[in-house]
Protein backbone atom coordinates (compact mmCIF):
# COMPACT_ATOMS: atom_id res chain seq x y z
CA UNK A 1 0.00 0.00 0.00
CA UNK A 2 1.42 3.38 -1.01
CA UNK A 3 2.33 5.80 1.76
CA UNK A 4 0.44 9.04 2.11
CA UNK A 5 3.40 11.00 0.84
CA UNK A 6 3.57 8.88 -2.29
CA UNK A 7 -0.16 9.25 -2.83
CA UNK A 8 0.02 13.01 -2.51
CA UNK A 9 2.96 13.23 -4.89
CA UNK A 10 1.15 11.21 -7.54
CA UNK A 11 -2.15 12.96 -6.90
CA UNK A 12 -0.54 16.30 -7.76
CA UNK A 13 -0.07 14.97 -11.26
CA UNK A 14 -3.76 14.05 -11.34
CA UNK A 15 -2.92 10.39 -11.74
CA UNK A 16 -6.38 8.82 -12.05
CA UNK A 17 -5.37 5.53 -10.49
CA UNK A 18 -3.88 7.30 -7.49
CA UNK A 19 -6.87 9.58 -7.05
CA UNK A 20 -9.19 6.60 -7.23
CA UNK A 21 -7.08 4.87 -4.60
CA UNK A 22 -7.27 7.95 -2.38
CA UNK A 23 -11.04 8.11 -2.74
CA UNK A 24 -11.49 4.40 -2.10
CA UNK A 25 -9.21 4.47 0.92
CA UNK A 26 -10.51 7.53 2.70
CA UNK A 27 -14.07 8.21 1.57
CA UNK A 28 -15.64 5.43 3.69
CA UNK A 29 -14.09 6.86 6.83
CA UNK A 30 -15.09 10.40 5.93
CA UNK A 31 -18.63 9.18 5.28
CA UNK A 32 -18.83 7.43 8.65
CA UNK A 33 -17.42 10.49 10.40
CA UNK A 34 -19.95 12.73 8.72
CA UNK A 35 -22.96 10.51 9.27
CA UNK A 36 -22.14 10.14 12.95
CA UNK A 37 -22.24 13.88 13.36
CA UNK A 38 -24.89 14.84 10.85
CA UNK A 39 -27.17 11.83 11.28
CA UNK A 40 -28.06 12.13 7.62
CA UNK A 41 -26.63 9.83 4.96
CA UNK A 42 -27.38 12.20 2.12
CA UNK A 43 -25.67 15.07 3.88
CA UNK A 44 -22.78 12.79 4.69
CA UNK A 45 -22.34 12.00 1.00
CA UNK A 46 -22.44 15.73 0.28
CA UNK A 47 -19.72 16.13 2.86
CA UNK A 48 -17.61 13.48 1.17
CA UNK A 49 -18.10 15.09 -2.24
CA UNK A 50 -17.22 18.52 -0.96
CA UNK A 51 -14.21 17.22 0.93
CA UNK A 52 -12.63 15.60 -2.07
CA UNK A 53 -13.57 18.45 -4.36
CA UNK A 54 -11.79 20.90 -2.07
CA UNK A 55 -8.80 18.60 -1.98
CA UNK A 56 -8.61 18.75 -5.78
CA UNK A 57 -8.96 22.51 -5.75
CA UNK A 58 -6.10 22.76 -3.30
CA UNK A 59 -3.91 20.64 -5.52
CA UNK A 60 -4.82 22.73 -8.52
CA UNK A 61 -3.69 25.85 -6.72
CA UNK A 62 -0.44 24.27 -5.73
CA UNK A 63 -1.57 23.83 -2.12
CA UNK A 64 -2.84 20.82 -0.28
CA UNK A 65 -0.98 18.62 2.17
CA UNK A 66 2.65 17.59 2.01
CA UNK A 67 1.94 14.63 4.27
CA UNK A 68 -0.79 13.34 6.57
CA UNK A 69 -3.39 13.16 3.85
CA UNK A 70 -5.98 11.48 6.03
CA UNK A 71 -5.69 14.19 8.67
CA UNK A 72 -6.00 16.84 5.98
CA UNK A 73 -9.16 15.31 4.53
CA UNK A 74 -10.74 14.95 7.95
CA UNK A 75 -10.07 18.60 8.68
CA UNK A 76 -11.84 19.59 5.50
CA UNK A 77 -14.78 17.39 6.40
CA UNK A 78 -14.92 18.76 9.91
CA UNK A 79 -14.93 22.34 8.68
CA UNK A 80 -17.79 21.58 6.34
CA UNK A 81 -19.79 19.77 9.01
CA UNK A 82 -19.32 22.62 11.45
CA UNK A 83 -20.72 25.04 8.89
CA UNK A 84 -23.68 22.77 8.29
CA UNK A 85 -24.34 22.65 11.97
CA UNK A 86 -24.24 26.43 12.17
CA UNK A 87 -26.77 26.67 9.38
CA UNK A 88 -29.04 24.00 10.86
CA UNK A 89 -28.48 23.69 14.59
CA UNK A 90 -31.41 21.28 14.93
CA UNK A 91 -30.30 17.83 13.96
CA UNK A 92 -32.73 15.67 12.01
CA UNK A 93 -34.58 13.01 13.89
CA UNK A 94 -32.71 9.77 14.25
CA UNK A 95 -32.93 7.82 11.03
CA UNK A 96 -34.01 4.74 12.93
CA UNK A 97 -37.41 6.31 13.51
CA UNK A 98 -38.09 5.95 9.82
CA UNK A 99 -37.20 2.27 9.68
CA UNK A 100 -39.93 -0.33 9.86
CA UNK A 101 -39.58 -2.13 13.19
CA UNK A 102 -38.33 -5.71 13.17
CA UNK A 103 -41.04 -7.80 14.87
CA UNK A 104 -38.43 -10.02 16.49
CA UNK A 105 -36.72 -7.12 18.21
CA UNK A 106 -38.00 -5.73 21.46
CA UNK A 107 -39.30 -2.29 20.49
CA UNK A 108 -38.62 -0.92 23.96
CA UNK A 109 -34.92 -1.75 23.84
CA UNK A 110 -34.67 -0.33 20.34
CA UNK A 111 -36.41 2.85 21.40
CA UNK A 112 -34.17 3.26 24.41
CA UNK A 113 -31.09 2.81 22.26
CA UNK A 114 -32.38 5.28 19.70
CA UNK A 115 -33.12 7.81 22.40
CA UNK A 116 -29.69 7.45 23.96
CA UNK A 117 -27.98 7.85 20.60
CA UNK A 118 -30.01 10.97 19.95
CA UNK A 119 -29.06 12.31 23.36
CA UNK A 120 -25.41 11.62 22.73
CA UNK A 121 -25.56 13.28 19.31
CA UNK A 122 -27.25 16.33 20.76
CA UNK A 123 -24.68 16.41 23.54
CA UNK A 124 -21.88 16.27 20.99
CA UNK A 125 -23.37 19.25 19.22
CA UNK A 126 -23.25 21.21 22.44
CA UNK A 127 -19.48 20.91 22.46
CA UNK A 128 -17.21 23.40 20.83
CA UNK A 129 -16.15 22.30 17.33
CA UNK A 130 -12.65 21.31 18.46
CA UNK A 131 -13.92 19.36 21.44
CA UNK A 132 -16.36 17.55 19.23
CA UNK A 133 -13.67 16.69 16.73
CA UNK A 134 -11.41 15.25 19.42
CA UNK A 135 -14.17 13.11 20.86
CA UNK A 136 -15.32 11.79 17.51
CA UNK A 137 -11.85 11.06 16.19
CA UNK A 138 -10.66 9.43 19.40
CA UNK A 139 -13.65 7.51 20.61
CA UNK A 140 -15.61 6.88 17.44
CA UNK A 141 -12.91 6.70 14.80
CA UNK A 142 -10.40 5.12 17.18
CA UNK A 143 -7.50 7.44 16.37
CA UNK A 144 -4.53 7.82 18.65
CA UNK A 145 -3.72 11.14 20.33
CA UNK A 146 -0.92 11.70 17.84
CA UNK A 147 -3.20 11.11 14.87
CA UNK A 148 -5.82 13.43 16.30
CA UNK A 149 -3.17 16.07 16.93
CA UNK A 150 -2.02 15.84 13.31
CA UNK A 151 -5.58 16.09 12.07
CA UNK A 152 -6.25 19.16 14.15
CA UNK A 153 -2.91 20.83 13.75
CA UNK A 154 -2.48 21.03 17.50
CA UNK A 155 0.06 19.68 19.98
CA UNK A 156 -0.76 16.40 21.69
CA UNK A 157 -1.07 18.23 25.01
CA UNK A 158 -3.77 20.49 23.61
CA UNK A 159 -5.63 17.46 22.30
CA UNK A 160 -5.55 15.85 25.74
CA UNK A 161 -6.80 19.06 27.27
CA UNK A 162 -9.62 19.28 24.77
CA UNK A 163 -10.51 15.65 25.43
CA UNK A 164 -10.66 16.28 29.14
CA UNK A 165 -12.90 19.31 28.73
CA UNK A 166 -15.06 17.58 26.18
CA UNK A 167 -15.74 14.58 28.39
CA UNK A 168 -16.43 16.86 31.33
CA UNK A 169 -18.88 18.84 29.22
CA UNK A 170 -20.57 15.69 27.96
CA UNK A 171 -20.80 14.38 31.50
CA UNK A 172 -22.45 17.57 32.66
CA UNK A 173 -24.81 17.72 29.76
CA UNK A 174 -25.85 14.06 29.83
CA UNK A 175 -26.08 13.55 33.56
CA UNK A 176 -26.45 16.86 35.28
CA UNK A 177 -29.06 18.36 32.96
CA UNK A 178 -31.25 15.31 33.43
CA UNK A 179 -31.25 15.66 37.20
Amino acid sequence: MASEKQLIKRARKYNQQTLAEIYDRYSPGIFRYAVRLLNDSEQAENCVSETFSRFLTALQRGGGPKDHLQAYLYRIAHNWITDQYRRQPSLPLDAEFAIDPDPEVDPQSVSADVIIREQVRNALMELTPDQRRVVVLKFLEGWSNIEVAEAMGKPVGAVKSLQHRALAALRRFLFETNE
Binding site: Y14, L19, Y23, D24, S27, F31, R32, R36, S41, E45, V48, S49, E50, F52, S53, R54, F55, L56, T57, A58, L59, Q60, R61, G63, G64, P65, K66, D67, Y72, R75, I76, H78, N79, W80, I81, T82, D83, P89, A95, D113, R117, V120, E126, L127, T128, P129, D130, R133, V135, F139, L140, M152, G153, S161, R165, L167, R171, R172, L174, F175
Partner: protein, 336 residues
Protein backbone atom coordinates in the same frame (compact mmCIF):
# COMPACT_ATOMS: atom_id res chain seq x y z
CA UNK B 1 -12.25 13.42 40.13
CA UNK B 2 -14.92 12.04 42.44
CA UNK B 3 -16.06 8.43 42.15
CA UNK B 4 -19.40 9.57 40.82
CA UNK B 5 -17.81 11.75 38.17
CA UNK B 6 -15.48 8.95 37.19
CA UNK B 7 -18.39 6.57 36.88
CA UNK B 8 -20.28 9.10 34.80
CA UNK B 9 -17.28 9.56 32.56
CA UNK B 10 -17.14 5.83 31.89
CA UNK B 11 -20.82 5.89 31.13
CA UNK B 12 -20.28 8.77 28.71
CA UNK B 13 -17.68 6.72 26.86
CA UNK B 14 -20.05 3.73 26.80
CA UNK B 15 -22.75 5.97 25.41
CA UNK B 16 -20.39 7.25 22.75
CA UNK B 17 -19.82 3.64 21.73
CA UNK B 18 -23.45 3.51 20.66
CA UNK B 19 -22.62 5.87 17.85
CA UNK B 20 -20.05 3.45 16.45
CA UNK B 21 -22.66 1.73 14.39
CA UNK B 22 -23.55 3.78 11.36
CA UNK B 23 -26.00 3.17 8.55
CA UNK B 24 -24.46 1.49 5.55
CA UNK B 25 -23.35 3.65 2.69
CA UNK B 26 -25.52 3.54 -0.38
CA UNK B 27 -23.28 1.86 -2.98
CA UNK B 28 -24.92 3.80 -5.80
CA UNK B 29 -24.32 7.14 -4.10
CA UNK B 30 -20.75 6.14 -3.30
CA UNK B 31 -20.08 5.16 -6.90
CA UNK B 32 -21.63 8.37 -8.22
CA UNK B 33 -19.46 10.37 -5.86
CA UNK B 34 -16.38 8.50 -6.98
CA UNK B 35 -17.21 9.07 -10.64
CA UNK B 36 -17.80 12.78 -10.04
CA UNK B 37 -14.51 13.10 -8.19
CA UNK B 38 -12.49 11.42 -10.92
CA UNK B 39 -14.27 13.40 -13.63
CA UNK B 40 -13.46 16.62 -11.82
CA UNK B 41 -9.84 15.55 -11.58
CA UNK B 42 -9.75 14.80 -15.30
CA UNK B 43 -11.17 18.20 -16.15
CA UNK B 44 -8.54 19.85 -13.97
CA UNK B 45 -5.79 17.88 -15.64
CA UNK B 46 -6.98 19.00 -19.08
CA UNK B 47 -6.53 22.62 -18.06
CA UNK B 48 -2.82 22.02 -18.33
CA UNK B 49 -1.46 21.49 -21.85
CA UNK B 50 -1.01 17.84 -22.71
CA UNK B 51 2.23 18.52 -24.50
CA UNK B 52 4.79 19.72 -21.99
CA UNK B 53 7.03 21.04 -24.75
CA UNK B 54 4.18 23.01 -26.21
CA UNK B 55 3.43 24.37 -22.78
CA UNK B 56 6.99 25.44 -22.31
CA UNK B 57 7.44 26.95 -25.76
CA UNK B 58 4.08 28.37 -26.64
CA UNK B 59 4.83 31.62 -24.88
CA UNK B 60 7.54 32.24 -27.41
CA UNK B 61 5.10 31.98 -30.26
CA UNK B 62 2.67 34.29 -28.54
CA UNK B 63 5.39 36.78 -27.75
CA UNK B 64 6.61 36.67 -31.32
CA UNK B 65 3.15 37.46 -32.59
CA UNK B 66 2.87 40.42 -30.31
CA UNK B 67 6.33 41.67 -31.11
CA UNK B 68 5.79 41.47 -34.79
CA UNK B 69 2.39 43.02 -34.96
CA UNK B 70 2.43 45.68 -37.58
CA UNK B 71 -0.11 47.74 -35.80
CA UNK B 72 0.51 48.33 -32.16
CA UNK B 73 -2.57 49.05 -30.14
CA UNK B 74 -1.90 51.30 -27.25
CA UNK B 75 -5.33 50.63 -25.87
CA UNK B 76 -4.74 46.89 -25.93
CA UNK B 77 -1.48 47.28 -24.05
CA UNK B 78 -3.07 49.58 -21.49
CA UNK B 79 -6.04 47.34 -20.90
CA UNK B 80 -3.84 44.26 -20.68
CA UNK B 81 -1.59 45.90 -18.14
CA UNK B 82 -4.57 46.96 -16.06
CA UNK B 83 -6.07 43.48 -16.13
CA UNK B 84 -2.78 41.87 -15.15
CA UNK B 85 -2.25 44.33 -12.31
CA UNK B 86 -5.79 43.79 -11.07
CA UNK B 87 -5.35 40.01 -11.17
CA UNK B 88 -2.14 40.26 -9.15
CA UNK B 89 -3.71 42.52 -6.56
CA UNK B 90 -6.90 40.54 -6.24
CA UNK B 91 -5.11 37.21 -6.29
CA UNK B 92 -2.71 38.32 -3.59
CA UNK B 93 -5.41 39.89 -1.48
CA UNK B 94 -7.56 36.83 -1.94
CA UNK B 95 -4.86 34.59 -0.51
CA UNK B 96 -4.57 36.92 2.47
CA UNK B 97 -8.32 37.03 2.93
CA UNK B 98 -8.57 33.28 2.81
CA UNK B 99 -5.85 32.85 5.40
CA UNK B 100 -7.44 35.50 7.64
CA UNK B 101 -10.85 33.96 7.95
CA UNK B 102 -10.06 31.92 11.06
CA UNK B 103 -7.56 34.20 12.68
CA UNK B 104 -7.85 35.09 16.34
CA UNK B 105 -7.35 38.54 17.86
CA UNK B 106 -3.71 37.71 18.55
CA UNK B 107 -3.03 36.79 14.90
CA UNK B 108 -1.51 39.34 12.57
CA UNK B 109 -4.21 38.65 9.97
CA UNK B 110 -7.03 39.44 12.37
CA UNK B 111 -7.47 43.04 11.12
CA UNK B 112 -7.96 41.64 7.62
CA UNK B 113 -10.71 39.39 8.93
CA UNK B 114 -12.51 42.32 10.51
CA UNK B 115 -12.05 44.47 7.44
CA UNK B 116 -13.56 41.76 5.27
CA UNK B 117 -16.55 41.46 7.61
CA UNK B 118 -17.14 45.17 7.25
CA UNK B 119 -16.76 44.86 3.51
CA UNK B 120 -19.30 42.07 3.32
CA UNK B 121 -21.70 44.02 5.43
CA UNK B 122 -21.32 47.06 3.26
CA UNK B 123 -22.16 45.10 0.13
CA UNK B 124 -25.80 44.70 1.09
CA UNK B 125 -28.45 47.13 2.15
CA UNK B 126 -31.08 44.48 2.71
CA UNK B 127 -31.81 44.48 6.46
CA UNK B 128 -32.59 40.78 6.57
CA UNK B 129 -29.30 39.94 4.88
CA UNK B 130 -27.52 42.31 7.20
CA UNK B 131 -29.00 40.55 10.21
CA UNK B 132 -27.79 37.26 8.79
CA UNK B 133 -24.28 38.64 8.39
CA UNK B 134 -24.28 40.10 11.89
CA UNK B 135 -25.37 36.74 13.23
CA UNK B 136 -22.39 35.14 11.54
CA UNK B 137 -20.10 37.86 12.86
CA UNK B 138 -21.49 37.38 16.37
CA UNK B 139 -20.65 33.69 16.11
CA UNK B 140 -17.15 34.66 15.00
CA UNK B 141 -16.66 36.87 18.05
CA UNK B 142 -17.80 34.10 20.37
CA UNK B 143 -15.55 31.61 18.61
CA UNK B 144 -12.68 34.02 19.06
CA UNK B 145 -13.44 34.44 22.74
CA UNK B 146 -13.58 30.69 23.23
CA UNK B 147 -10.45 30.16 21.16
CA UNK B 148 -8.48 32.75 23.11
CA UNK B 149 -9.63 31.26 26.40
CA UNK B 150 -8.60 27.77 25.39
CA UNK B 151 -5.20 29.12 24.48
CA UNK B 152 -4.94 30.59 27.94
CA UNK B 153 -5.15 34.13 26.60
CA UNK B 154 -7.44 36.91 27.77
CA UNK B 155 -10.23 37.96 25.46
CA UNK B 156 -9.39 41.43 24.13
CA UNK B 157 -11.67 44.34 24.83
CA UNK B 158 -12.19 44.85 21.09
CA UNK B 159 -13.92 41.49 20.72
CA UNK B 160 -16.41 42.40 23.40
CA UNK B 161 -17.03 45.86 21.99
CA UNK B 162 -17.52 44.56 18.51
CA UNK B 163 -19.89 41.89 19.75
CA UNK B 164 -21.81 44.49 21.66
CA UNK B 165 -22.13 46.64 18.54
CA UNK B 166 -23.23 43.65 16.48
CA UNK B 167 -25.91 42.68 18.95
CA UNK B 168 -27.26 46.19 19.21
CA UNK B 169 -27.31 46.64 15.45
CA UNK B 170 -29.10 43.33 14.94
CA UNK B 171 -31.91 44.42 17.22
CA UNK B 172 -32.15 47.81 15.59
CA UNK B 173 -32.35 46.27 12.16
CA UNK B 174 -34.96 43.79 13.31
CA UNK B 175 -36.98 46.59 14.87
CA UNK B 176 -36.95 48.41 11.56
CA UNK B 177 -38.45 45.54 9.59
CA UNK B 178 -42.05 45.46 8.52
CA UNK B 179 -44.62 43.87 10.82
CA UNK B 180 -44.58 40.51 9.06
CA UNK B 181 -40.81 40.19 9.13
CA UNK B 182 -39.84 41.37 12.57
CA UNK B 183 -40.96 38.27 14.51
CA UNK B 184 -39.35 35.68 12.19
CA UNK B 185 -36.13 37.67 12.22
CA UNK B 186 -36.10 37.83 16.00
CA UNK B 187 -36.86 34.13 16.25
CA UNK B 188 -33.85 33.33 14.09
CA UNK B 189 -31.69 35.59 16.24
CA UNK B 190 -33.01 33.89 19.38
CA UNK B 191 -32.30 30.44 18.03
CA UNK B 192 -28.73 31.37 17.27
CA UNK B 193 -28.31 33.02 20.65
CA UNK B 194 -29.59 29.94 22.39
CA UNK B 195 -27.04 27.81 20.57
CA UNK B 196 -24.21 30.18 21.40
CA UNK B 197 -25.23 30.45 25.04
CA UNK B 198 -25.26 26.69 25.40
CA UNK B 199 -21.83 26.46 23.81
CA UNK B 200 -20.43 29.05 26.18
CA UNK B 201 -22.12 27.51 29.21
CA UNK B 202 -20.16 24.35 28.57
CA UNK B 203 -16.99 26.33 29.18
CA UNK B 204 -18.11 28.22 32.24
CA UNK B 205 -16.65 25.93 34.81
CA UNK B 206 -14.32 26.96 37.63
CA UNK B 207 -11.24 25.89 35.73
CA UNK B 208 -12.36 27.92 32.68
CA UNK B 209 -13.56 30.97 34.53
CA UNK B 210 -12.77 34.11 32.60
CA UNK B 211 -14.38 37.44 33.52
CA UNK B 212 -14.70 38.52 29.91
CA UNK B 213 -16.40 35.29 28.89
CA UNK B 214 -18.80 35.82 31.74
CA UNK B 215 -19.51 39.32 30.43
CA UNK B 216 -20.12 37.93 26.98
CA UNK B 217 -22.50 35.37 28.39
CA UNK B 218 -24.44 38.09 30.23
CA UNK B 219 -24.55 40.08 27.02
CA UNK B 220 -26.04 37.15 25.15
CA UNK B 221 -28.59 36.58 27.89
CA UNK B 222 -29.68 40.18 27.72
CA UNK B 223 -29.96 39.97 23.96
CA UNK B 224 -32.02 36.84 24.44
CA UNK B 225 -34.32 38.72 26.78
CA UNK B 226 -34.82 41.54 24.30
CA UNK B 227 -35.51 39.20 21.41
CA UNK B 228 -38.06 37.35 23.53
CA UNK B 229 -39.73 40.67 24.18
CA UNK B 230 -39.72 41.34 20.47
CA UNK B 231 -41.27 37.99 19.67
CA UNK B 232 -43.94 38.34 22.37
CA UNK B 233 -44.64 42.06 21.89
CA UNK B 234 -43.35 43.10 18.47
CA UNK B 235 -45.06 46.50 18.41
CA UNK B 236 -43.72 47.43 21.82
CA UNK B 237 -40.28 46.21 20.77
CA UNK B 238 -40.34 48.37 17.66
CA UNK B 239 -41.47 51.40 19.59
CA UNK B 240 -38.69 50.91 22.10
CA UNK B 241 -36.08 51.16 19.40
CA UNK B 242 -37.76 54.01 17.60
CA UNK B 243 -37.73 56.02 20.79
CA UNK B 244 -34.19 54.93 21.64
CA UNK B 245 -35.26 53.39 24.91
CA UNK B 246 -32.89 50.45 24.85
CA UNK B 247 -29.42 50.11 26.27
CA UNK B 248 -26.79 48.06 24.49
CA UNK B 249 -27.39 44.49 25.56
CA UNK B 250 -25.33 43.28 28.47
CA UNK B 251 -23.09 46.35 28.59
CA UNK B 252 -20.39 45.29 30.99
CA UNK B 253 -19.54 47.79 33.73
CA UNK B 254 -15.87 46.92 33.48
CA UNK B 255 -13.93 45.21 30.79
CA UNK B 256 -10.77 43.27 31.56
CA UNK B 257 -7.77 44.79 29.86
CA UNK B 258 -6.04 42.39 27.50
CA UNK B 259 -2.55 41.11 28.21
CA UNK B 260 -0.12 43.13 26.17
CA UNK B 261 -0.95 44.56 22.81
CA UNK B 262 -3.34 42.25 21.13
CA UNK B 263 -4.70 44.67 18.62
CA UNK B 264 -8.09 45.21 20.15
CA UNK B 265 -9.19 47.14 17.06
CA UNK B 266 -11.66 49.26 18.99
CA UNK B 267 -10.27 52.62 18.05
CA UNK B 268 -10.49 54.03 14.55
CA UNK B 269 -7.39 53.29 12.60
CA UNK B 270 -6.28 50.38 14.75
CA UNK B 271 -6.92 47.77 12.17
CA UNK B 272 -9.64 48.95 9.82
CA UNK B 273 -9.46 51.82 7.39
CA UNK B 274 -11.90 54.26 8.91
CA UNK B 275 -14.30 55.68 6.41
CA UNK B 276 -16.56 57.83 8.47
CA UNK B 277 -15.36 57.64 12.00
CA UNK B 278 -17.66 54.85 13.08
CA UNK B 279 -14.70 52.61 13.75
CA UNK B 280 -14.65 48.87 13.37
CA UNK B 281 -17.63 46.65 13.23
CA UNK B 282 -20.59 46.91 10.93
CA UNK B 283 -23.29 49.07 12.23
CA UNK B 284 -25.54 51.86 11.08
CA UNK B 285 -23.49 54.21 9.05
CA UNK B 286 -20.54 51.86 8.58
CA UNK B 287 -18.91 52.41 5.21
CA UNK B 288 -16.57 49.59 4.40
CA UNK B 289 -15.24 49.06 0.92
CA UNK B 290 -16.62 46.24 -1.14
CA UNK B 291 -14.71 43.10 -1.88
CA UNK B 292 -13.14 40.39 0.15
CA UNK B 293 -13.95 36.81 0.85
CA UNK B 294 -16.35 35.12 3.15
CA UNK B 295 -14.95 34.45 6.51
CA UNK B 296 -14.71 30.95 7.57
CA UNK B 297 -16.25 29.41 10.58
CA UNK B 298 -15.76 26.09 12.15
CA UNK B 299 -13.35 25.13 14.72
CA UNK B 300 -11.67 27.19 17.29
CA UNK B 301 -8.71 29.14 16.14
CA UNK B 302 -5.36 27.60 15.67
CA UNK B 303 -2.09 29.34 15.47
CA UNK B 304 1.06 28.70 13.68
CA UNK B 305 2.09 26.90 10.58
CA UNK B 306 3.08 23.34 11.18
CA UNK B 307 5.04 23.10 8.01
CA UNK B 308 2.33 21.77 5.78
CA UNK B 309 -0.57 23.13 3.86
CA UNK B 310 -3.34 22.69 6.35
CA UNK B 311 -7.04 23.05 6.03
CA UNK B 312 -8.56 25.91 7.86
CA UNK B 313 -11.82 27.49 7.52
CA UNK B 314 -15.10 28.22 8.53
CA UNK B 315 -16.05 25.89 9.86
CA UNK B 316 -12.32 25.97 9.83
CA UNK B 317 -9.34 26.79 11.81
CA UNK B 318 -5.84 27.95 11.55
CA UNK B 319 -4.21 30.37 9.24
CA UNK B 320 -2.72 28.07 6.67
CA UNK B 321 -4.46 27.43 3.43
CA UNK B 322 -7.07 25.02 4.62
CA UNK B 323 -10.25 24.86 2.68
CA UNK B 324 -12.70 27.33 3.98
CA UNK B 325 -15.63 26.24 6.00
CA UNK B 326 -17.95 28.97 4.88
CA UNK B 327 -16.62 29.05 1.41
CA UNK B 328 -13.34 30.80 1.48
CA UNK B 329 -12.60 31.20 -2.18
CA UNK B 330 -9.11 32.40 -2.81
CA UNK B 331 -5.75 31.58 -1.58
CA UNK B 332 -3.59 28.59 -1.87
CA UNK B 333 -6.06 26.36 -0.15
CA UNK B 334 -9.27 24.93 -1.43
CA UNK B 335 -12.59 26.10 -0.34
CA UNK B 336 -15.80 27.06 -1.97
Amino acid sequence: MTAQKESNTHQVIDMLDRLHETPGRDPGAAERGRTRFLAEARSMKKAVSLNPFRRLNSWIARYSIIRHRKERSLMFATISSFIIALAVVLGGSGITAYAAQDSLPNDWLYPVKLYLEDARYGLTDDPTAQIGLLTAFTNNRIDEAIGMTLQGESVPKGVVTRLQNNLQTMLQLAAGLDEDSVVPALQRIRQNLRTQEQLMSRLMQPEDLDPVLEQLRIMLQEQHRLTKLGVDEPLQFQQMFRHGETEPPGAPPEIVEPKGNQGDCTEPGDCVPVEDGTGPGPGPGGNPEPGGEEPGGGSEGQNGNQGEEKPSGSGGSGNGDEPGGKGGENGSGPGK
